[in-house]
Symmetry: C2
């Protein structure tokens, strides 16, 4: 992403390196915040790797440039892609140290020159090319959207990336229409839940959801059929729909590419929108991404011709920050806000976390423990750790571990449904 | 195609092998037709290869089975895929001898048992899994559509395959919407002209057409921009639209796969719907198709993910005859007939040919001399050949020749604009 290296360099120069420990007391934080009005708290990724690369520090507050809006952040979204960033397991990663995070909600605090459409005090949600996980963020006005009055900051931070991605995949890439069927992996995740809700906005759409058994009760009303992630879902789907499905949304990659293509009906569309199976605790990012690239099976266009199939890839971050998709996304956001205002979609928030709890939050996503979205709530105080805390010895990204496995330490994680 | 081998075997048994020469006099044909009411004239492909494998013979007339309609054929469509069939250059070709042809128009002559929706005397157009190029054809009722009153038989024979293919590629695979741009190869061909007309039914769609220079005058009003097929169209398009196009429809394959994908805007769709560049006079069909399959570059799904692109294949014949797409195509046909009745689309007929002129008609498609559709008109008498005829020495499929080259013998071909 073009401008990230420069930003990271600035961050490196400006960094004051006041590390705030995980169990830093709240009072001390507030004092720290109030000492210098030009400083802010932010999550910093010091280098690519495990959870120990993350810390909360003081940073110089950014000021809006031409065409930018400065936002006093209230809540940030945490996504699977943030785990991939942490591991450097993305294409052309920026140079750390950096502030992670691609989306937030908050209040407009000031506006750059020649910047129109917003006023100080507006409640907004925004995309940011990194830097979202901080008390203050600046981002181009094209990536900022006014929040509906009835939308909370937590909902807004759960809205942008997931609903825009789900909408564009279903309606702009795959052309969802009445009577179709959709298979979605990680149906309990925040994209999966957005997909399920958007599918229900179209008459007579069948949703096949795949999720860990532990989530089935929580999400069974949002999908038509639900399968365990360890089941042979190809066979299970074919028992119900022998001819296959119209749309497969795959965030896992690997063997699921071929399975997804094989499950398509004629004229069906397979959409690859993530590769979360790449995140397995591997910290050698270069080898990990190279391995993933080469291991996935390439597809001959003639196979698609003979079988009447569509294969697509979708990366909202690339669309926004590398490919000039801001205007197109704005149009989609307008449609989504209309659906929200009609009560037809509503973000599912899994849990709220303080900035200082970002490691536990990431562990929860890594363990696929969430139903819906994890939110970093800027104003939330970290929950004191319990006696059986074992974050330092079992953290995601440090050790090779089974991502399917249950996390025995869930009870130490504070979350609000 | 599943039931083709059986049909071909029947044909082989029944074949009476009365070969009718190219310059057979009309009177003799009529006499031949009237001798036995259970016989009919048909084009026969005796084996895969060059034009010399085609002849017109007498065949036993088929009778409709359960669910079939028997049609007294008036006109048949001739498509590029018929050249590929002649060469055996398709996936799982049926065993010759066979009657080629996938579409026709005519009058319902009788109806099989348990067959509803049509009456004797109905003017219809139909898809057929081979066997269309004959005086009489039987086909399942799902592939038969009533013609609008104002549509001629020639127009109807030019309508089904090309408009359904164009519509499904634009609106069901690629999701054409207002303001988009479309690149179409062979813009002067019958699919190309259908694509151009359908694009004009959507506001503000830009069509980039590629065609031989000789066709530019004839088709320049149907497209927004036109390029010569020998030009570097990637550069030409980028001069006008630096960001590329939304949809590429490719019937050529080969190097155009990569060029097409490279020309796409983010979220753009490349659709491969043919491989006419495979037809270069090669008669060793197995090697030809194997070579084509392996030479085309396979695509990594991650490339589509990173670039936000869609790669699709579309084969209407496979959809209809192998993949049970009849009901879906019926819905599309209803929409197309509505557009026809509104005067928004109208088939462009390049020329009419007698059955006995099928070689010259194929040569014309091979030489890319046509603008719009070539029709085999069952009631047309063959035009006497001129003195400078050289069909036997320059026929397509017999010799390696430059498909880009002009055909010096065009004046010998009778056609009606």
């Amino acid at each position: 992403m073009a401008n990230v290296t420069t930003d990271s360099a600035d961050i490196a120069e400006e960094e004051t390196e006041h590390m705030i420990e995980n169990n830093f007391v709240v009072e001390a934080e507030n004092v720290a915040s109030s000492i210098d009005p030009k400083e802010m708290r932010a999550v910093i990724l010091a280098g690519f790797g495990g959870l120990n690369k993350l810390r909360v520090t003081k940073k110089t507050m950014p000021e809006p440039q031409h065409g930018e809006v400065k936002i006093r952040v209230k809540a940030c979204g945490l996504n699977f892609v943030d785990l991939m960033v942490r591991q450097g397991n993305i294409d052309s990663p920026p140079k750390p140290p950096l502030i992670p995070g691609f989306e937030c909600s908050g209040i407009v605090e000031s506006i750059g020159e020649n910047t129109h459409g917003f006023e100080i005090g507006d409640r907004v949600m925004a995309f940011v090319c990194y830097n979202a996980w901080a008390e203050v963020v600046c981002t181009p006005v094209d990536y900022v959207y006014k929040m509906p009055d009835k939308m909370s900051f937590q909902e807004a931070a759960a809205f942008s990336l997931n609903y825009v991605a789900a909408y564009m995949m279903l309606f702009e890439v795959a052309n969802l229409r009445e009577g179709m069927s959709v298979l979605v992996h990680s149906a309990g995740g925040s994209v999966g839940q957005a997909v399920a809700q958007l599918c229900s906005s179209v008459p007579n759409v069948t949703v096949f959801g795949i999720a860990s058994c532990s989530k089935h009760v929580a999400i069974r009303d949002s999908v038509t059929h639900i399968f365990d992630r360890n089941a042979d879902y190809v066979q299970e789907v074919k028992k119900i729909s022998p001819e296959g499905v119209d749309i497969v949304l795959d965030c896992l990659s690997g063997e699921h590419n071929g399975k997804g293509l094989a499950l398509l009906k004629p004229l069906g569309a397979y959409v690859l929108y993530g590769a979360s199976n790449m995140v397995t605790g591997e910290t050698k990012s270069f080898f990990s991404i190279a391995k993933s690239w080469w291991q996935v099976e390439k597809v001959n266009p003639f196979k698609l011709y003979e079988e009447n199939k569509v294969m697509a890839g979708f990366s909202l971050l690339n669309l926004l920050f590398k490919q000039g998709g801001g205007v197109r996304v704005k149009t989609v956001m307008d449609k989504l806000l209309s659906l929200y205002n009609q009560g037809r979609i509503k973000p599912v928030v899994d849990s709220l976390w303080a900035l200082e709890e970002v490691k536990e939050a990431m562990q929860r996503i890594h363990d696929r423990g969430n139903v819906g979205k994890l939110i970093l709530d800027i104003e939330k105080s970290p929950t004191p750790l319990m006696a059986n805390d074992s974050t330092e010895t079992s953290e995601a990204g440090e050790e090779e571990e089974d991502p399917e496995g249950d996390n025995d330490n869930k009870e130490r994680m504070p979350f609000i449904q």
